[in-house]
Amino acid sequence: MDNSLLGIFQYVDDLLAAAEKCKKSGYGITIISPVPLVHEIEHTFGESKNPVKYFTGLGAITGYLFGTLFAITTSILYVLPRSGRPIIAIPPILLISYETTILLGVLFTLMGFIVLALAPSFKAKEYDVGLAIDSFGLLVDGVRENKFGDIEKVMREYGANEVKRIEKK
């Protein structure tokens, strides 16, 4: 049966070295930390993909189209003559669409973040309280029963204070 091992580290460079070793051995790894380690992880493993940008782009385009069409269709359906000015006035419509571009861009970005980052772990089990405060965790997935000892040894070698076995439901 495949399960996971969680190593708890005090130092980030130890954790990254252990993570690199486990990744090279073909295991799936997850780093858990109380602070963002984005630069450190990118430095070690290279830049990750950023799918949030698709949500952001979609939101911004939707917002722009919504603002423009909303202002134009309303102006046509409910004509309000304003002393010789055009019924469809471009500058104010640009202003309205500018605001709706930002509004839906922000909301779609939030939605993208919730869908991609939060929803997958919404019901995930808590591994260790310290990981939210002052410890750094390396979660190695897909470890066969007979390989637990090897992975634990690697983690201990690289300075893990504690290694826990995590049972997946």
Binding site: V52, L95, I96, I102, G112, S121, K123, L131, A132
Partner: protein
């Protein structure tokens, strides 16, 4: 910041601000809440019951203290977003300890912005008339009206600011949910939306924050520009100025930064533990912004006056005379210049930046000065409209004085409740400031 502080210590210090509450705190909160009811809600109820006749608003001055305060609080809301968004995009490290406080100030300032629109409306139950949608009540949506721009701009700004504030709090709420008990634990767990602090979550959080910053940055400029067009797109002398958009944005940022300085100083006195995180270094940086903004504001104020003089139309000259040469407005103008142009320059003396004078007195004067700026524009310009038979001096009544004072008490009450529920300093960002623990020093 002191790099010897441990992560655990930072967590305990900041969560201590939430959980450790003495009787003095409750006493001040009760006083503020009672004052908010007495000065804001009771007079407002009286105004709703009696009608707008209890105010000093009458032809031609229909925009009075309520709209002065509306613009004022939009301005206060600006610095929070600027500190968060612009300084996040540029990865400025000193923003970390002060950004959450500034964002919170923005959140409640925007709450008051909405409140003053309702107060000004007179019949707040008809608020939905301001919503720009096609309707059947013979009130068509006018997309060329700056009031319609306002609804879109302020609506977008409020929504984005709320998203930015609560989005940034998710990792902290997850962290607090481990140590909290009872209703706090349930609240933090629910609001942290399953945050575990995985590398993927942090990566996407950083990217999303960057997008929020990129979106919100232009919003800071656009919102107050749009508010300034409520005036600048009219033909009223004193309102129709092309310089108003940058003038309003700069003024908003100046008052916002003064608000942030004052808020941080009060918080540091109330919670001495904050002195570990908000240090002289932060005062140094924020006060430099105040000096720069004050200089830009002074230039734009000069431009506002000079362009009026250069226009040399009789109505502009009368308006300027009313503002600059007739008591009490001439004294108020002088006080405004003293507060916004002269006093902030004292920050060039390094010793003064972290002194009592620099932390409390100058920000208070700037806040008063910026309020006066809006007062000298909004009702004053309407008092001298074109022909002399339309001239009318505006005298606010006690209701109009009471409601803004009450609103300030309400702002303080809401802020005090907020800091007892949510972390006022971003825990994970402070930890970033402390540094990432490495066995081998780099």
């Amino acid at each position: 910041m002191d790099r010897t502080i441990t992560y655990k210590e930072a967590s305990e210090d900041i969560s201590g601000i939430i959980t450790k509450t003495g009787w003095k705190y409750y006493a001040v909160l009760t006083l503020m809440a009672v004052s908010a009811v007495s000065f804001l809600f009771l007079p407002w109820a009286y105004q709703i019951y009696s009608g707008q006749g209890v105010t000093g608003l009458n032809a031609p001055v229909f925009w009075g203290l309520y709209l002065v305060n509306f613009i004022y609080w939009v301005g206060i809301a600006h610095a929070g977003t600027l500190i968060s968004a612009m300084l996040y995009i540029t990865q400025t490290p000193w923003r970390r300890a002060i950004a959450r406080g500034a964002e919170t100030m923005t959140f409640f300032a925007l709450f008051l912005v909405s409140l003053f629109i309702f107060v000004h409306m007179g019949r707040p139950w008809n608020f939905y008339w301001t919503m720009p949608y096609p309707n059947q009540r013979q009130i068509w949506t006018n997309f060329t009206s700056p009031i319609t721009f306002d609804v879109f701009a302020i609506g977008t700004y409020t929504t984005s600011s709320i998203v930015f504030l609560f989005f940034g709090m998710i990792p902290d709420l997850a962290s607090l949910s481990h140590t909290a008990t009872g209703w706090r634990k349930r609240l933090y767990t629910a609001l942290s939306f399953g945050w575990r602090g995985t590398d993927r979550q942090w990566h996407l959080q950083a990217k999303a924050c960057m997008f929020f910053g990129a979106f919100i940055m232009p919003l800071v400029v656009s919102v107050h520009s749009v508010v300034s067009w409520d005036f600048a797109l009219s033909v009223v002398p004193g309102y129709a100025k092309t310089v108003f958009a940058p003038y309003f944005v700069t003024g908003a940022l100046l008052s916002g930064f003064a608000g942030v300085l004052l808020m941080l100083s009060i918080m540091r006195e109330a919670y001495p533990v904050m002195k570990k995180y908000v240090t002289a270094y932060h005062y140094d940086k924020v006060t430099i912004f105040v000096v720069v903004l004050s200089l830009i504001w002074s230039y734009l104020t000069l431009m506002e006056v000079v362009t009026g003089l250069y226009a040399n139309t009789s109505q502009e000259i009368e308006h300027l005379k009313y503002k600059l040469a007739i008591s009490p407005f001439s004294y108020l103008f002088a006080l405004m210049i003293f507060s916004n142009s002269v006093l902030p320059l004292l920050y060039i003396f390094k010793k003064l930046r972290n002194s009592f004078f620099g932390r409390f007195i100058i920000p208070v004067f700037v806040l008063i000065g910026m309020w006066l700026e809006r007062f000298l524009i909004v009702p004053n310009s309407l008092s001298r409209k074109f022909l002399p038979w339309m001239w009318h001096d505006y005298s606010p009544t006690w209701v109009e004085y009471s409601i803004p004072i009450g609103a300030l008490f309400f702002f303080i009450s809401m802020f005090m409740v907020f800091i007892k529920v949510f972390p006022i300093i971003a825990i994970f960002e402070v930890k970033e400031d402390i540094g990432i623990p490495m066995r081998k020093s780099h």
